[in-house]
């Protein structure tokens, strides 16, 4: 028996007897806050047997969102949690229910709980109200006299009816304009660590990921694109490939070649047997040294974009008061464990696409365009995502799959090799940073940060995103108002360095390097003026950013700052991202000249907490995801090609190098709802590098750490 978040078809869902659907729209303010207005028409249905199906607008990629969003709705619905099922909803339905401002359905930016908390609670309240009124009508009793409890409506005289029994009647009632809400003080699901609803499926092999989709008659495809970005297919010699048993066809497209076979292995072997002459194009000269040189040149550019400026210009700082250092981070790949894949089935009047995506709307639009069908005829199914981290916010491989399916006119599943995934990513951009501090009389009076690199929004499709006001500031996330620190003089600048490398949203996006730059450099300053790292931060936190103090102090207390075990050294970092604040204290020792991290203590303030266990899991995973790349991974370029190709040369963190992560939550139920999926990632690299400095006096200014320490580049 397979389980998957999309296992219930939309039509089956709507056709179910006794189904209650509740339409909801995102309030415009919420919609504006994320730049992409509301994408949903219906969030919940209840079947006659009480099964309560909640439609998640977000994709489940490990972050637990299908559990957390269901908790929010089920809370106001007063649902029987044991009967709740969650389905990631589809694009067309979203689209139809939305107003003219609609842009896209997206799971990203740690926005799911912040954006959907209120709409889902409202949907739950509306559904509960209709169920209560249905019972009131049935019993001829005033609705106000009835109560609910875990999926049952109670009459004061002892009669009761389950939600399943009432659902059909309730679905015929009009929704109230202002249905009564439960007082937050009586929450019984929200704020508790109910277990994720995907655990059984994920420990039994029953969970269906995109790669597990099986359609009768489905062929398998493997593809290869020009190893040089932007290059095209020249000549293809495919005799050897076609001779491999099981191979059905070799399909040549403008910029990639695909082999189609009965099963995937022959398709993959056939791709390797192709002799392709590529027209490499303009980027064949790209190499790592060139990238680095371009970034360094960016640091010296004349006209930066100024994102924040207070006090005196750094140009006027007395030279003897200036401390300066340059930093650099490499391109990184998302490398989700599930290699990219997409299954397409085109029929005369419809197109079904099964894909682990973070952007259903882009899939929908691409499918309509590729097939010539109307968007209403396209059905996007979202199985579980075997990791996303931002990679599945792109649509490149989906477009390949669609092109193959259009050519074949048969159901087909495209699956990339790991090598194709690593060599054709949308990478975390490489960035350089120049940090300057004005230090006078033992105090930090000014901070001047300039970051230089490429801008994801300049390259992202749809291009309308480029017009957003945040576009220019995107590479400076974490340096602007969210930064907790105040100085007499502040200047934050960004320089666009146009590079021919595809880039995208990688877990925590620009925070992944701005935190590394600033939190490392502050430590340099602390060392310079002889102040404890925590004490320096305490002194710099602005009064307007008081929440940061509590987070820092909790991490300091729980992480036993200043009292490491013998032979161990500590580092600390503090950073806000996506509306939540995280501080981390790292304890490590040096073994053979390399760091061995023993302990990570994290404190987080994400505002109201829907599920503490999910928060702890995401902070743990986010920190270790950051540690993975901070330690060892980087992408290099040579002759226009990505050098790395698989996990032997793009080394991810392994268990032996993964310390326990202790997560402590700052209770802040009245603050705005913050994100949680990406928050743990930014602080870890600087915290580790600060601890390495404490241990060795060596300052790592270029990631990843291990090659930097081995090569003396630090």
């Amino acid at each position: 028996m397979r389980s998957s978040p999309q296992s219930l078809s939309r039509r089956g869902f709507l056709a179910g007897l006794g189904v209650l659907l509740v339409a909801v729209h995102l309030p415009p303010a919420e919609a504006a806050a994320v730049g992409s207005p509301s994408p949903l028409s219906a969030f919940v249905g209840i079947a006659a047997d009480g099964t309560t199906t909640i439609l998640s607008p977000s994709s489940e990629m490990g972050q637990g969102v299908c559990t957390a969003l269901a908790q929010l709705l089920a809370e106001e619905l007063d649902a029987d949690w044991s009967l709740v099922r969650v389905v990631t909803t589809e694009g067309p339905e979203f689209r139809r229910s939305l107003g003219p401002g609609y842009t896209m359905q997206v799971t990203g930016g740690s926005t799911s709980v912040p954006v959907w908390s209120e709409p889902l609670r409202a949907a739950g309240a509306s559904a509960r109200d209709r169920l209560v009124r249905a019972a009131a009508a049935r019993w001829g009793a005033p609705a106000a006299s009835l109560t609910t409890d875990a999926g049952v409506v109670h009459h004061p005289d002892g009669r009761s009816a389950t939600y399943g029994e009432l659902a059909l009647e309730a679905s015929k009632l009009r929704a109230s304009r202002n249905p009564p809400r439960k007082p937050r003080t009586v929450d019984r699901l929200v704020g508790t660590s109910v277990p994720r609803n995907d655990l059984v499926a994920k420990v039994t092999g029953a969970a269906t990921f995109g790669v597990d989709i099986r359609i009768p008659g489905m062929l398998r495809a493997c593809s290869v694109a020009c190893p040089v970005f932007g290059g095209r297919v020249g000549a293809v010699e495919d005799a050897a490939a076609r001779a491999i048993p099981g191979v059905r066809d070799v399909l040549v497209f403008e910029d990639f070649v695909a082999v189609v076979a009965d099963t995937w292995w022959p398709a993959k072997r056939a791709v390797e047997a192709l002799k392709i002459t590529w027209e490499e194009g303009a980027n064949a000269g790209l190499d790592s040294a060139g990238v680095s040189a371009a970034l360094r040149a960016g640091l010296d550019a004349e006209r930066p974009f100024v994102g924040r400026s207070e006090g005196r210009s750094p140009a006027l700082w007395p030279a003897e008061e200036v401390l300066s250092a340059d930093y650099e981070v490499p391109y990184l790949d998302h490398a989700p464990m599930e290699p990219l894949n997409c299954t397409v089935h085109i029929q005369p009047d419809r197109c079904d696409v099964w894909v682990g995506t973070q952007v259903q709307t882009m899939v929908l639009q691409a499918a309509a365009k590729a097939t010539g069908l109307r968007e209403e005829q396209v059905f996007v199914h979202t199985p579980y995502l075997g990791g996303g981290f931002g990679r599945r916010g792109n649509n490149d491989w989906v477009e390949q799959a669609l092109a193959i399916a259009v050519r074949l006119q048969k159901p087909v599943q495209l699956l990339w090799t790991r090598e194709e995934g690593i060599r054709h990513g949308f990478y975390r951009p490489a960035f350089a940073g120049r940090l300057r501090a004005r230090v006078a009389a033992g105090e930090v009076r000014g901070l001047h940060v300039r970051v230089a690199g490429d801008n994801i929004l300049h390259r992202y499709r749809p291009r309308l995103l480029q017009g957003l006001p945040l576009a220019k500031a995107l590479p400076m996330e974490g340096l602007l108002e969210s930064s907790p620190y105040g100085f007499d003089d502040v200047r934050m600048e960004g320089v666009l360095v146009d590079l021919p490398v595809p880039i995208g949203f990688w877990r925590s996006v620009s925070h992944s390097y701005t935190a590394f730059f600033v939190e490392s450099f502050l430590d340099e300053v602390a060392a310079k003026i002889g102040v404890d790292s925590v004490a320096l931060r305490r002194g710099l936190i602005r009064d307007s950013h008081a929440r940061f103090r509590a987070v820092l102090e909790l991490a300091v207390e729980k992480g036993a700052w200043g009292k490491p075990e013998a032979g161990r050294f500590q580092g600390v970092a503090l950073h806000e991202s996506f509306g939540s604040i995280c501080a981390q204290v790292v304890e490590l020792s040096m073994v053979g000249g390399l760091p061995k991290v023993h302990r990570i203590t994290a404190a987080v303030d994400c505002g109201p907490v829907v599920n503490p266990d999910l928060v702890r899991a995401q902070i743990m995973g986010g920190a270790l995801f950051g540690l993975s790349e901070a330690l060892g991974a980087r992408l290099d370029f040579k002759a226009g090609r990505v050098v790395q190709g698989n996990f032997h040369d793009y080394p991810l963190l392994r268990m032996k190098d993964a310390p326990n992560v202790e997560v402590h939550i700052v209770e802040n139920p009245t603050a705005p709802v913050g994100g949680i999926g990406e928050i743990g990632t930014p602080p870890i690299a600087p915290a580790v590098c600060n601890a390495i400095f404490a241990a060795t006096g060596r300052r790592v200014r270029s990631l990843p750490i291990l090659p930097a320490l081995a090569g003396g580049k630090a």
Binding site: L199, V203, T204, T263, W264, M337, A617, N646, A658, V661
Partner: protein
């Protein structure tokens, strides 16, 4: 090519050099065993061959002729879960879940060899299994819980 999978005799027409992984996934539709790298670098494809853990992505099916394969789908008894699976649920180990079949099959092999493993034993046994969500601390916890469950059951 004939062999036994999860107690059932199967016969497949794959060429002898086809990796067992693709025979399981594409010929037998046993999709619980996952493809992650194709180079035995990530462990997502771990299954048991005659009771020992192997990486099915680098094992040509010719090697398993006449032998016995167990996959994640065959780990639990007909009804219920294997104690390692129960422990995994208790620990809340999975996030995206893609690597977990391989992690669990490797953990079962560890516990067969070392019924009461230390943290160091777990790290040694499971470091070849990558988890991009980095749920490693919870997997470690889950293995300890599994060891305790299996000890209690003895």
């Amino acid at each position: 090519m004939k062999f036994t999978v999860n107690g059932k005799a199967v016969e497949v027409s794959a060429t002898p050099d086809t990796p067992l992984l693709w025979v399981l996934r594409d010929h037998l539709d046993l999709t619980g065993t996952k493809f992650g790298c194709g180079l035995a670098q990530c462990g997502a494809c771990t299954v048991h061959l005659d009771g020992r853990a192997i990486r099915s992505c680098v094992t040509p099916v010719v090697e398993v002729q006449g032998r016995t394969v167990r996959t994640i789908e065959g780990l639990a008894p007909e009804q219920g879960l294997h104690p390692v699976q129960t422990a995994w649920i208790e620990a809340g180990a999975p996030q995206c879940g893609y690597c977990q079949s391989g992690q669990i099959m490797s953990a079962v092999a560890l516990l067969a060899a070392v019924p009461d493993p230390t943290d160091a034993d777990i790290d040694a046994a499971l470091s070849p299994n990558l988890c991009r969500c980095a749920t490693y601390p919870r997997i470690r916890d889950a293995v300890h819980r599994a060891a305790a469950r299996m000890r209690d059951a003895r």
